[in-house]
């Protein structure tokens, strides 16, 4: 029952994050990079929830993100619906491997996961539009647009982690089975 509650709470947080992000202005000091909040909640869920819940969360997050970022130009879609789902599900599966560490209270796993995921996701988007539009463009501006959201996710993750812990969303420390 607790997993279901956490799952739906995170889903609401992810949905609201997608809206809140639209009202956060670009960070002009850091090359107009944007703040990405979704990876923080997604990685938290992928690390905390059991496998089926984590995959379902990844699926829905990917779907929400895809529907938010779908771009139409001349009757065509730039990046098709579904690719984010693919990416989110793969990363959620990978994060499940780090779940035992997270359940033992290692908050830094969440922070690193969020930061790395934000960087990977934005890079993947950039690679896809580069393939689609042609011409490779790498500049300090591109790098800051990729790295800054990741760094912000990394820094904000502990806030979410400890807030959730205070609200009782964190699991009780478990004893790891000794072999």
């Amino acid at each position: 029952m607790k997993n279901v509650t956490i799952f739906f709470s995170l889903l609401v947080c992810i949905f609201l994050s997608l809206i809140i992000e639209q009202f956060i202005p670009p960070l002009r000091v850091f090359g107009s990079a944007r703040v990405d909040l979704v990876p923080i909640f997604f990685c938290y869920g992928a690390l905390l929830l059991p496998f089926p819940f984590a995959i379902l969360l990844a699926f829905l997050t990917g779907l929400f993100v895809d529907l938010s970022t779908l771009q139409f130009s001349g009757g065509h879609v730039e990046i098709a619906l579904g690719w984010s789902i693919f990416f989110y599900v793969l990363f959620a599966s990978l994060l499940q491997g780090f779940r035992p560490f997270f359940l033992r209270g290692r908050w830094e796993v969440h922070a690193f996961a969020s930061g790395i995921y934000a960087v990977l996701f934005i890079t993947a988007q950039f690679v896809m539009i580069t393939f689609r539009r042609g011409g490779i463009e790498v500049s300090p501006l591109v790098i800051s647009k990729i790295l800054v959201p990741g760094s912000i996710c990394f820094l904000l993750s502990p806030v979410v982690y400890f807030s959730a812990k205070m609200m009782g969303a964190m699991p009780v420390k478990r004893r790891v089975r000794q072999y």
Binding site: Q22, P52, I55, W83
Partner: protein, 270 residues
């Protein structure tokens, strides 16, 4: 057993993702439209909160500015200064609305629908905004969006009460343009990656020996079968350089894209 079940779940979900990626652009458009409609009440609420917040910070800024002005204009009439303090915020807003209304009255060629930008795309690589008008207001795909100073972009997705506008600063928004005072024609688009502070536009396919000077104005050419009506101002030439096969010009947009709030959707010829 559990591992097999997990593997089946992952494969099933990925299969759904693959199926979703194969659906047509029309269906994707409908799904996005529905998603935007569902988000609309939250976006409207967010926009209202942001506006209130900005009004508060603008008030604080005005006081700062007034403090500075006060020291410079110490010799001026104190009564007039106090009156200015009170009226400054309201006058600015009034002026903006008056300009927009004048433009609405002045332009007899097109039917214009006033709209407000409610949110901006949070993604790193796309430049879009949402406006508070949708298909219920008669907005349709590929409609042009302008302000009293020039072109803003075109509508790419329409939901019930909101629409997504692809800004001219996006690389995917391509406009056939002409340079005032010359015979030069080219294709204008945004840059793939650019600063949000000072966006720039690029005109490609100009002739190599085009004699362009900084400050020359750029207007939409209005090609037949195109989306954008002719003679809409896009900006001013900032610089021109030749490439191997063509000439390329950098343009400063006529519209202050990062700060624009009120726009008009061109609904068609009157």
């Amino acid at each position: 057993m559990m591992r097999h079940l997990n593997l089946i779940i992952v494969v099933a979900v990925l299969l759904v993702a693959v199926i979703l990626s194969t659906i047509g652009a029309g269906s994707m458009h409908a799904l996005k439209s529905r998603f935007i409609s569902n988000q609309a009440p939250f976006v409207e609420a967010g926009s209202a909160i942001k506006k209130k917040f900005e009004a508060t910070t603008r008030g604080i800024k005005t006081l700062d500015q007034l403090e500075e002005e006060n020291s410079d204009l110490i010799t001026q009439n104190k009564e007039l200064l106090a009156e200015n303090q009170l009226l400054r915020g309201k006058e600015e807003e009034n002026q903006k609305l008056r300009e927009a209304l004048d433009y609405l009255k002045k332009d007899p060629k097109y039917k214009l629908l006033p709209a407000r930008i409610v949110s901006r795309d949070a993604s790193a690589w796309w430049n879009t905004v949402k406006i508070n008008r949708g298909f219920e207001d008669g907005v349709d795909n590929d409609m042009t969006v302008i302000t009293e100073t020039g072109l803003v972009g075109k509508v790419t997705t329409v939901a019930k009460n909101e629409s997504v506008v692809l800004l001219i600063t996006d690389e995917n928004c391509k406009v056939a343009v002409k340079i005032a005072g010359t015979q030069e024609l080219g294709i204008l688009s945004g840059k793939r990656v650019q600063s949000a502070d000072k966006p720039e536009l690029v005109i490609n396919y100009l002739t190599k020996n085009a004699a362009l000077e900084p400050g020359q104005e750029v207007f939409s050419a209005g090609v037949s079968g195109g989306i954008f009506p002719p003679e809409i101002k896009l900006g001013k030439i900032q610089s021109f350089h030749t490439r191997e096969l063509d000439g390329q010009a950098i343009v400063t947009p006529a519209v202050d894209i990062p700060n624009v709030e009120d726009v008009f959707v061109v609904m068609g010829a009157k």
